[in-house]
């Protein structure tokens, strides 16, 4: 019996040693990751190839009043294509927003007039239904990588978790809506926990703070189930909760078209 146990124990020890080595190497590799690498993995985690979900957006106004919106979201190609269709309130029901090319092309569909209107890039700065999220915040998946230069600072603790601290500076000639972004990315899940967005014209003026919380593993993808955007200039707050989300799905390309918006 012991003859059998011994080799097993020996093999277990070897596996343990190997696992420890791999983990150490992994940790070492993680601690050695560059800002770009962290940003790339985070962007990939936050923008799965395909997704379909229902979101609830609650706007808390300066006077403390609440406005709630519910909408269905669809995204493809890692967020390069996305479609939002409002479910509630009835004021905006069936209104749809189609964003292609990382929100560089935006179309809005108004169901009462059956009109589709194309918005220019500058419209990305407009607030989405008066919320603290802009079209750019909602639609652009690759903006952090393409429009900003990233550097990594010393790791910090945020929301009680170890985080990579990154600083993103807007590239010259970019039309991205923020001059500078600071973000703290969870070392284990590689999802952002806190993001600070700085004003378009003043890199020292903090405009918005996004806090991501309630991280759950859904279809093998770490997903913050709640996002809270605090507008520091207007002193307003918008929270975005994921009611349901699916990643293991196949969405047709036809969905991300003018006809798809109206369907």
């Amino acid at each position: 019996m012991s003859g059998i146990v011994q080799p097993v124990r020996g093999r277990l020890c070897a596996i343990l040693v190997l696992w420890t080595l791999v983990m150490n190497m992994n940790l070492h590799a993680q601690s050695e990751m560059t800002a770009e690498e962290v940003l790339n993995i985070m962007t990939e985690t936050m923008n799965p190839q395909q997704s379909k979900g229902t979101m609830k957006m609650t706007i808390v106004t300066t006077s403390g009043e609440e406005r709630t919106f519910e909408y269905r979201t669809f995204s493809k190609n890692g967020g390069e294509k996305s479609l939002m269709k409002y479910l509630k309130p009835t004021r905006v029901k069936d209104q749809a927003i189609l964003m292609l090319n990382d929100a560089n092309d935006i179309w809005v569909y108004f169901p009462r007039t059956k009109r589709v209107r194309k918005l220019a890039t500058h419209a990305k700065r407009q607030k989405l239904e008066g919320s603290d999220f802009s079209y750019e915040d909602m639609g652009a998946s690759n903006t952090f990588i393409e429009e900003y230069r990233a550097i990594r600072h010393d790791d910090e603790k945020r929301e009680g978790r170890g985080c990579y601290a990154l600083e993103l500076t807007r590239k010259p000639g970019s039309d991205a809506g923020y001059s500078r972004i600071l973000m703290w990315v969870d070392r284990d899940c590689l999802v952002p926990l806190v993001i600070h967005y700085y004003h378009d014209e003043d890199p020292e003026l903090l405009e918005k703070e996004l806090v991501c919380s309630d991280i759950q593993l859904i279809d093998e993808i770490y997903t913050p189930m709640k996002y809270t955007m605090h507008n520091k200039l207007d002193n307003t707050q918008t929270s975005l909760e994921i009611v349901e989300v699916m990643y293991k799905i196949e969405l047709p390309d036809d969905l991300f078209t003018e006809l798809g918006m109206q369907r």
């Binding site: 007039t113 220019a120 890039t121 700065r125 014209e201 207007d234 307003t236």
Partner: protein
């Protein structure tokens, strides 16, 4: 009495239908209070509007939609278009015509839209009374041969049109639309084809149409339906960071009488970092007059009843909007006739009172001289509109 019975029957149908699965019942109630000051006299007229929408997706790939509008007017509901004409035109109108120019807002109940829409992956067929919205312009759409927008309130919904419409998507940036709007015979019916394509940051479309339009000679009150073929197109995109768009339509008359005419519009917009949204459009209507001294009774009346979009040839439309807070948006527009140097200023305030309750306050201040397109004879006024969605 018939209207009440029809209304009750329709209401019952809507309520019964709404109780079944896959049927949605929604809409809004909209009271609006208007005031106008004309020739030193202040008038009030108001309406209560109830729009009830029904939508069903009970059958796979088929959507059925309908909405019923019930309008109740009160206050000064009887008007005479004569009162809005410039003094020198008014005096030239023969007395026997005066009564013809009278009109009244009567309580109405009507089926605004009722359609069925079959949608497959790249194809949609819509049959029935439906919304037809064409063109990229904001204050006017020269390629939209079915609607004439109210320049003071251009985003307000338009009535439905009887049509059979096919949309076909050849690829994600290339689509085709064909529309047939049946009348008493093929000749009189409206036919429209449109191809839309996307290139880079731009969407382009070309369209061809054959459609009747109405021309009224007001001194004799003779109405003629004239055939025309229309070629047109539009674009929307981005240039040097500005949103840009344009559309134009050229009408070829099929009969020998009268001249061909055209309309075009170009516009641009920009949103500043502060959230301030700005827009400017230029519109030309070759049917409009370039000299205001040439405006005659026909020009004015055709403008009032929507047979032509504008009375003057060239106009500029400017629009600004600023979100003061998350619930309050202030803005305004100015519509100016370049041809006769008159303008109307339209300051606007929009407030989200509750979750599904919006308030709109709008003024219209005509600053042109009497006799010009946006002259003082139109009467200054404004309205408060509340919309409660359910």
């Amino acid at each position: 009495m018939m209207k009440i019975v029809a209304g009750c029957a329709l209401g019952l149908l809507l309520c019964t239908s709404a109780g079944t699965r896959d049927v949605e019942l929604f809409g809004y109630f909209e009271p609006q209070y208007n005031g106008i000051c004309q020739d030193g006299t202040y008038y009030q007229f108001h309406y209560n509007k109830l729009r009830t929408d029904l939508k069903s997706r009970a059958v796979k790939n088929i959507e059925f939609g309908a909405d019923v509008i019930y309008l109740l007017y009160h206050g000064k509901s009887e008007w005479n278009l004569l009162d809005f004409l410039p003094g020198h035109i008014r005096s030239s109108v023969p007395p026997e015509t005066h009564r013809v120019l009278e009109f009244a807002y009567r309580d109405t109940l009507f089926l605004d839209n009722v359609y069925a829409r079959l949608t497959l992956s790249r194809f949609a067929l819509t049959a029935g009374k439906q919304q037809v919205s064409l063109g990229t312009g904001y204050f006017a759409n020269p390629t939209d041969l079915f609607n004439v927008k109210d320049a003071i309130d251009p985003t307000y919904e338009q009535p439905g049109h009887n049509a059979l419409r096919i949309d076909f998507m050849l690829n994600h940036r290339l689509q085709m639309m064909a529309l047939y709007s049946p009348e008493s015979n093929w000749e009189k019916s409206g036919k429209l084809m449109r191809i839309k394509a996307g290139f880079g940051r731009f969407d382009f479309s070309v369209m061809g149409s054959e459609i009747e339009y109405m021309v009224t000679d007001f001194p004799t009150m003779h109405v003629r339906q004239r055939q025309r073929r229309v070629l047109g197109g539009d674009f929307v995109g981005e240039f040097l960071g500005l949103g840009v768009w344009g559309e134009g339509a050229y009408s070829f008359l099929k009969d020998e009488e009268g001249e061909d005419f055209y309309e075009f519009l170009v516009g641009g917009d920009y949103t500043f970092e502060s959230g301030l949204y700005t827009m400017l459009e230029h519109h030309r209507n070759s049917q409009g007059e370039s000299d205001y001294r040439e405006y005659d009774l026909n020009d004015w009346m055709r403008f009032f009843i929507g047979e032509t979009r504008t009375i003057s040839r060239d106009q500029l439309y400017g629009f600004v909007q600023y979100p003061v807070s998350d619930l309050l948006v202030v803005g305004g527009s100015v519509l100016a006739s370049v041809s006769d140097r008159s303008a109307v200023l339209v300051p606007t305030v929009e407030y989200s009172l509750f979750e599904n309750v919006d308030l709109v306050f709008m003024l219209n201040l005509y600053v042109g001289d009497d006799g010009k397109a946006y002259g003082s004879q139109m009467g200054n006024g404004g309205f408060i509109r509340c919309r409660v969605y359910f």
